[in-house]
């Protein structure tokens, strides 16, 4: 359990369970539901792009977000539901006696509640979303095994996050996505060039003259090897007709072009991902630098307030008074007396009691 979890989930009215406790509960509930034939739903909830939020606004906002989401889940679920935390800041909800529709309704409430939340970070208002993966103990086609319930929920969460987040994927949908993923995988494998040439029934080697005749623009990296394999696949000996040689040439060139484009696309994606990471880090550095500058200025101000000016010493070490050598001594003496009397009178007007004492 992370420090956040320990500080967040303890001491509340309805404490969250630890991963171990949740798993123990799940086993108990699973056995009970199997025995009594009642359904059971598991929801796995994760805040979308939480790491980036922490990078941008700091760990304080991350804790606020997790605390708020946990609070929402707590208020949205029933008292009999078990709420726990998993590693990586995911929340786990176990709702016994709940059909698939009930789980979907709960997930929808959580999604809508989280969308309505807003957080203040560095003077900006931030909104968040969550992804939810759900697993139902009794799907339409089969009854999920105890050990796979969590895997299915995690799979659903993964699909939900990879689809852009802010959605709920339950077990049936997960199966649908899984099937689609497998279909796409099969399609990719079918379209992709063969990784290896079967040893048995290998065609005869390409004649050096024919291989030299094939021109492949922009071959690089694995491309020569691929070219050789394809040439080997189409391998025609010297003296075959020109049409077949031209077809071979075009197929090889086309395959290499496709491959090059695919490599470039993959590289481009990786570069843009790196750029995003760099941007995020640069923004964080900028914000930290700004915060550091402000802290530095505050420290300087605080220090300056403590630095006391020793002052400049007066030329007089004692009280002076009118010099008897002054040519207007008498006049000035009388004026001083009148100024004093006027000030004494003023004090009387301001605070009569005090002046009487003077």
């Amino acid at each position: 359990m992370s420090p956040f979890q320990s500080s967040l989930f303890k001491g509340s009215a309805r404490d969250l369970f630890t991963p171990q406790q949740v798993q123990q509960l799940m086993r108990v509930e699973f056995d009970r539901s199997k025995r009594h034939g009642h359904p059971l739903v598991m929801l796995l909830i994760a805040v979308d792009r939480l790491a980036q939020l922490q990078d941008l606004y700091g760990a304080g906002l991350r804790d606020d977000v997790l605390r708020a989401v946990a609070g929402l889940v707590r208020t949205s679920s029933r008292a009999s539901d078990a709420l726990g935390c998993m590693l990586d800041d995911r929340l786990l909800v176990l709702t016994p006696h709940t059909p698939a529709e009930g789980a979907a309704s709960l997930a929808r409430r959580i999604l809508e509640g989280v969308r309505a939340m807003s957080f203040d970070g560095l003077g900006r208002t931030t909104r968040i979303t969550v992804s939810i993966g759900g697993a139902h103990s009794q799907t339409g086609r089969m009854e999920l095994a105890f050990d796979t319930l969590l895997d299915v929920a995690e799979g659903g969460l993964k699909v939900a996050r990879e689809s852009g987040g802010n959605r709920y994927v339950h077990s049936d949908l997960y199966e649908f996505f899984e099937e689609r993923r497998k279909r796409e995988q099969r399609e990719r494998e079918r379209l992709a060039p063969p990784a290896a040439i079967p040893a048995a029934g290998a065609p005869p080697p390409v004649a050096p003259a024919a291989a030299a005749a094939i021109e492949v623009p922009g071959e690089a990296g694995d491309a020569p090897l691929l070219g050789a394999k394809i040439r080997e696949l189409f391998g025609l000996g010297a003296g075959e007709n020109e049409l077949l040689a031209r077809i071979q040439q075009e197929v090889v060139a086309s395959a290499l072009r496709e491959m090059k484009a695919e490599i470039e696309r993959a590289l481009g994606e990786r570069q843009s991902e790196h750029r995003r990471e760099i941007d995020t880090l640069e923004r964080r550095i900028q914000k930290l630098t700004q915060a550091l500058g402000m802290t530095d200025a505050e420290l300087k101000r605080a220090l300056s307030q403590h630095s006391v000016d020793p002052g400049v010493a007066s030329i007089y070490t004692s009280v002076q008074g009118l010099s008897s050598n002054d040519v207007q001594h008498e006049l000035k003496k009388e004026l001083m007396s009148k100024i004093f009397q006027a000030n004494l009178e003023l004090r009387k007007q301001i605070s009569p009691g005090k002046s009487e004492q003077a």
């Binding site: 400049v312 030329i315 007089y316 002076q320 010099s323 207007q328 006049l331 004093f340 000030n343």
Partner: protein, 349 residues
């Protein structure tokens, strides 16, 4: 100053005298440690948390406050010569107190010295004003006294007999007849034909003659401080004002002269009144010892213009300028502080 008995006994290293001239436009201090400081009488407090964070200060004074006034709750606590008592009276009193505290801090007193201050207060300051000034000053000094501003100017240059002191400030012009004793109410006349009046007149004249020119009263004040003159042959005053965003030159020579001259007739009226009610035997002597002080005395040719109008209306007169117009009041207050007997200071602590 919060006085603890132990602190009082620790103050055995010397006595610092402060002379403070609390003016509408500028507040100045001269001290017996050689420090002389002046600050424009503006006080500003950050409007909100954002401004506070930007300015890094809780209170700004003088030209700095003026420069940042858009981010501040801005006060000119001594406008019109007294602490303003409008609907923001409490805030003005606080601003005045902070200003007094700041000018005392700028005198750089030592912690182990007794500090005795004389403050030249506006002649027409009310009892509430004086109480506020005393209260603010007592936070920072051991003993404080108030005296009339024009009197302190005259005392500073030892012209205590048969002298007519004219202290031209920003908010008011104070005229005081000195005749070898403390001036009474009948010896003093105050009018508001002073620096601010010149600013307002100049702004009005420019607005009438060049309605397209855009300016603020601060711009007018700067122009006045740089070009003020009442002479017939004064150098031309050509200034740039924006017109629809474009800086455009305007010749305002005549307008500057007219606005600066606008304070002279009321001043000569007041001079005439003070001279006319003086002992006839000494009237001629009083006319020959008119002393011009305050920031307004820096208007070029003003002494000659007053003399000219005195000649026309009173049959003659001689006008002298105080050498240091900015510190004339503060110097006089410092001299009073120095000459004040020790027992008087003690009684007022």
């Amino acid at each position: 100053m919060a006085k603890q008995s132990s602190e009082a006994t620790n103050k055995d290293q010397g006595v610092l005298y402060l002379g403070i001239d609390l003016g509408t436009s500028r507040t100045s201090v001269t001290a017996s440690n050689g420090v002389r400081e002046t600050v424009a009488s503006y006080v500003g407090y950050p409007k909100d948390v954002v401004a506070r964070k930007l300015l890094q200060k809780d209170v700004l004074f003088g030209d700095e406050a003026l420069e940042k006034r858009l981010s501040l709750d801005f006060y000119r606590p001594l406008a019109h010569g007294v602490i303003k008592s409008d609907n923001e009276s409490a805030k003005n009193l606080k601003a005045a107190a902070d200003l007094i505290g700041e000018i005392i801090r700028r005198a750089r007193p030592r912690r182990d010295e007794l500090i005795y201050a004389v403050i030249g207060a506006p002649a027409q300051a009310s009892i509430n004003n004086k109480e506020a000034i005393l209260k603010a000053a007592k936070e920072h000094v051991d003993s404080v006294m108030l005296c009339s501003e024009p009197f302190s100017v005259a005392y500073g240059i030892d012209m205590l007999d048969d002298t007519l002191v004219i202290d031209i400030g920003a908010g008011t012009t104070d005229l005081c007849r000195m005749h070898g004793t403390m001036p009474e109410d009948a010896d003093q006349i105050t009018n508001t034909f002073a620096g601010d009046h010149i600013d307002e007149t100049l702004a009005k004249l420019i607005r009438e003659k060049h309605p397209e020119a855009q300016f603020s009263i601060q711009m007018i004040k700067s122009i006045k401080e740089k070009h003020s003159n009442v002479a017939d042959n004064m150098p031309p005053v050509v200034v740039n004002f924006p017109v629809k965003g474009k800086p455009t030159p305007f010749d305002i020579t005549d307008l500057v002269r007219t606005s600066c001259r606008s304070i002279v007739p009321p001043m000569v009226d007041a001079i005439g009144e003070l001279i006319g009610t003086f002992d006839p035997e000494f009237q001629e002597r009083l006319k020959g010892r008119v002393l011009l002080g305050g920031g307004g005395s820096q208007i070029r040719g003003l002494d000659a213009e007053i003399e000219r109008q005195m000649y026309e209306r009173l049959g003659g007169g001689k006008v002298l300028r105080v050498e240091e117009s900015m510190y004339g009041g503060a110097n006089g207050a410092l001299k009073i502080a120095h000459d004040m007997p020790a027992e008087y200071w003690e009684k007022l602590r």
